[in-house]
């Protein structure tokens, strides 16, 4: 194992991704990185910092500004046995590539009767909270989750990022990998010798008894903070990090709701047609007699992302989560 990953260390989320990518490049010569400004610069969020220097321009490729072309060529590379990892610079810039992702990446395997795989990872920094301008703060995950043939995951912290990126690269299915932009600089202790949690599984990250809160990506931390605040008020919240949006691993959510009787879903994306809607429907179906209140959803209004000056009003925060908890108890 490489020296860089052999001891416990304090890492940021972007460093976790960087180390994970480095390990994937070391472990498998078929792994390639492609994207705008990812090589010499190391990416605008420094996720690929130093990788071109160490692995060469053939494996860490600076591409022209052409998202559809980047993802389309990744399809051809994948057909030839490579495992391309594509970086989309910001959430709002994935759409030129949307066509390739939906019509090619997602469908190639089924169309070929399983004879080919699409082991492509499409990394997308997503979400707001960094005071950025339009197209730099969006949460487009539901578009991808509703597309059959894609796997969609979201990492919530540095350690998860380290493991999940490697697992996504190792997955033979195409993975749209959402990175919580505002958490890139968060720090945590990484033990690279630990056994990773399975990729396509949700995870209880805080035990509780009174209500269940489900989140993913950047909102997991917000919900953990909300749970702490709720505890001071004598309420015990169980927090589940969904981690995978497609497939959706809801068994832990059902088990939790059967215990707590209340569920709040939280994401930055629009409540309308957001992931919370699917979760609410499934939980209502599976846990109907355990529910003490309707499933409540916290998320953004159904509007374009606002100017950053008012993004705090738009984005869910600790108070909005706690308000929803209060409302769940008021039923």
């Amino acid at each position: 194992m490489a020296e860089s990953t052999s001891k416990t260390q304090q890492i940021s989320l972007s460093k976790g991704l960087n180390l994970g990518l480095r390990r994937a490049l070391e472990d498998d010569p078929k792994v390639l990185l492609m994207g705008e400004d990812i090589g010499k610069l190391g990416g605008v969020f420094r996720v690929t910092d130093g990788l071109q220097k160490d692995f060469g321009e053939a494996r860490v490729m600076d591409t022209p500004l052409a998202e559809s072309g980047i993802v389309g060529t990744a399809v051809g590379l994948a057909l030839a046995g490579y495992r391309p990892v594509v970086e989309i610079q910001f959430d709002g810039f994935v759409f030129p590539a949307f066509d390739q992702i939906v019509t090619q990446v997602a469908k190639m395997r089924a169309r070929a009767l399983g004879k080919v795989s699409m082991p492509i990872v499409i990394r997308i920094p997503f979400g707001g909270g960094i005071g950025a301008v339009e197209h730099h703060s969006e949460s487009p995950e539901a578009y991808f989750a509703m597309t059959a043939g894609l796997r969609v995951v979201a990492a919530s912290n540095p350690v998860e990022a380290y493991w999940m990126i490697q697992q996504s690269i190792a997955s033979d299915d195409p993975v749209v990998f959402f990175e919580p932009k505002r958490r890139y600089w968060d720090k945590a202790e990484l033990d690279p010798t630990a056994t990773p949690y399975p990729l396509y599984a949700s995870r209880v990250v805080r035990q509780g008894t009174d209500a269940t809160v489900v989140a993913y990506g950047p909102m997991v931390k917000t919900c953990l903070e909300a749970a702490k605040a709720a505890e001071e008020e004598g309420r015990s919240l169980e927090v589940i990090d969904l981690r995978t949006l497609s497939p959706l691993d809801l068994e832990p959510v059902f088990a939790s709701v059967r215990k707590t009787g209340r569920l709040i879903t939280v994401h930055e994306a629009s409540v309308f047609m957001g992931m919370g809607a699917e979760i609410a429907a499934k939980v209502t179906e599976k846990c109907f007699y355990s529910l003490e209140a309707p499933v409540l959803r916290v998320g953004a209004p159904h509007t374009p992302y606002p100017p950053s000056r008012v993004e705090e009003e738009f984005l869910p925060d600790l108070d909005r989560v706690l308000d929803a908890v209060d409302r769940a108890f008021a039923f």
């Binding site: 705008e36 400004d37 010499k40 610069l41 605008v44 600076d62 591409t63 022209p64 500004l65 052409a66 559809s68 072309g69 709002g92 810039f93 759409f95 030129p96 005071g131 950025a132 301008v133 339009e134 197209h135 730099h136 629009s270 409540v271 309308f272 919370g276 409540l296 959803r297 916290v298 998320g299 953004a300 209004p301 159904h302 509007t303 374009p304 606002p306 100017p307 950053s308 000056r309 008012v310 009003e313 738009f314 869910p316 909005r320 308000d323 929803a324």
Partner: protein, 336 residues
């Protein structure tokens, strides 16, 4: 370089450059950007900006060759185009500072300012996205029997986007009265033009039968002359032209760089790039006293613009759900 199609007669408005007016626009944009960068650093402009500093000759020269009823589309680095087309600097400053008095009540911000009343169909943050929009607008002008021209700006990065090449094809087929202005400032973010563009930028247009020329994008009058010819050609229904304006970005790709300091060009290279300054090139064409007078005027305009912007209110978050639908339906609120 010089395409025969580009040496036809210029449009009446573009025969003789008004040196003082061109200088005024260059100076306005330069100082506007410098003041805007200060406001970014002061925390008054949220999300930062992509400064246009160094590229002023392109916006000034091209817009001076347009008629007031002609149209433009712009880019993420668009303050210069918007000002050169005649937007009120105070309302533009308020726009990028996100205030309700801005051109779009602060909803467009730095990258999406629009002023439909004076032919600004909008800046656009999606690289390449405005080219087809401009071409559609140009075709609409033709269909309406108007001789309006649409000018669309994009960078050297954008010529690698499929949609721009699709647009070249459409515009050439339809002979749309559109002028493509590619500002080659040497970089797309940190990627050098030479590392991203196979062949040449002009060659891409020429492949579709669109005449193209490389223009000194640091000289407002050279840009003005080339734009005049391209505009005249479009007005005569002879179709699109591409102008590759060779220029240099003086400041950061985005003000984020001021803190992050990525190294992708050396200070020596930047010095060299700045050695042909459009402000000095155009300034040298005026008597000292005239130049000083314009400078003083611009300072006053910008003083007022900054004051106006900072005195203006921030939007009420309650209005965030407005304007989404033609029938007045409000958007759905966040918590279901």
């Amino acid at each position: 370089m010089a395409d025969p199609a580009l040496s036809g007669p210029a449009s009446p408005s573009s025969q003789k450059p008004d040196s003082a007016a061109l200088y005024r626009t260059v100076r306005l944009i330069r100082r506007f950007e410098e003041r805007a960068v200060e406001l970014v650093h002061d925390g008054q402009i949220f999300g930062g900006i992509h400064p246009y500093t160094g590229q002023e000759a392109v916006a000034a020269g091209t817009c001076a060759a347009l008629r007031p009823d002609d149209l433009i589309t712009s880019t993420h680095r668009g303050h210069g185009h918007v000002l050169a087309k005649g937007a009120d600097p105070a309302r533009m400053m308020a726009e990028i500072a996100g205030r309700t008095t801005g051109l779009n009540a602060g909803r467009g911000g730095s990258m999406h300012a629009a002023d439909f009343g004076i032919g600004i169909l909008g800046a656009n943050a999606i690289v390449g996205a405005a080219a087809p929009i401009a071409t559609g607008a140009a075709w609409a002008a033709r269909c309406a029997g108007s001789d309006r021209v649409v000018m669309t700006y994009f960078g050297d990065g954008a010529v690698s986007q499929g949609v721009v090449l699709e647009t070249f094809n459409l515009a050439a087929l339809w002979r749309a009265p559109v002028v493509f202005v590619c500002e080659n400032n040497g970089f797309a973010t940190t990627t050098r033009t030479d590392d991203a563009v196979a062949g040449s930028i002009t060659g891409r247009a020429e492949a579709f039968g669109i005449p193209a020329a490389r223009v000194d994008g640091m000289d407002p009058e050279a840009v003005f002359a080339a734009a005049g010819t391209a505009i005249a050609r479009a007005r005569r229904s002879e179709g699109p032209t591409l102008l590759e304006c060779v220029t240099y970005r003086y400041d950061a790709h985005h003000t984020w760089e001021h803190a992050a300091r990525p190294r992708y060009r050396t200070p020596e290279e930047v010095d060299l790039g700045r050695s042909r300054d459009p402000l000095e090139i155009q300034g040298a064409r005026l008597p000292e006293a005239r130049r000083a007078q314009i400078d003083a005027e611009i300072e006053a305009v910008l003083e007022e613009a900054v004051r106006f912007a900072l005195d203006s209110p921030h939007p009420d978050p309650a209005t965030a759900l407005d304007y989404l639908y033609a029938d007045g339906t409000q958007a759905r609120a966040g918590v279901a």
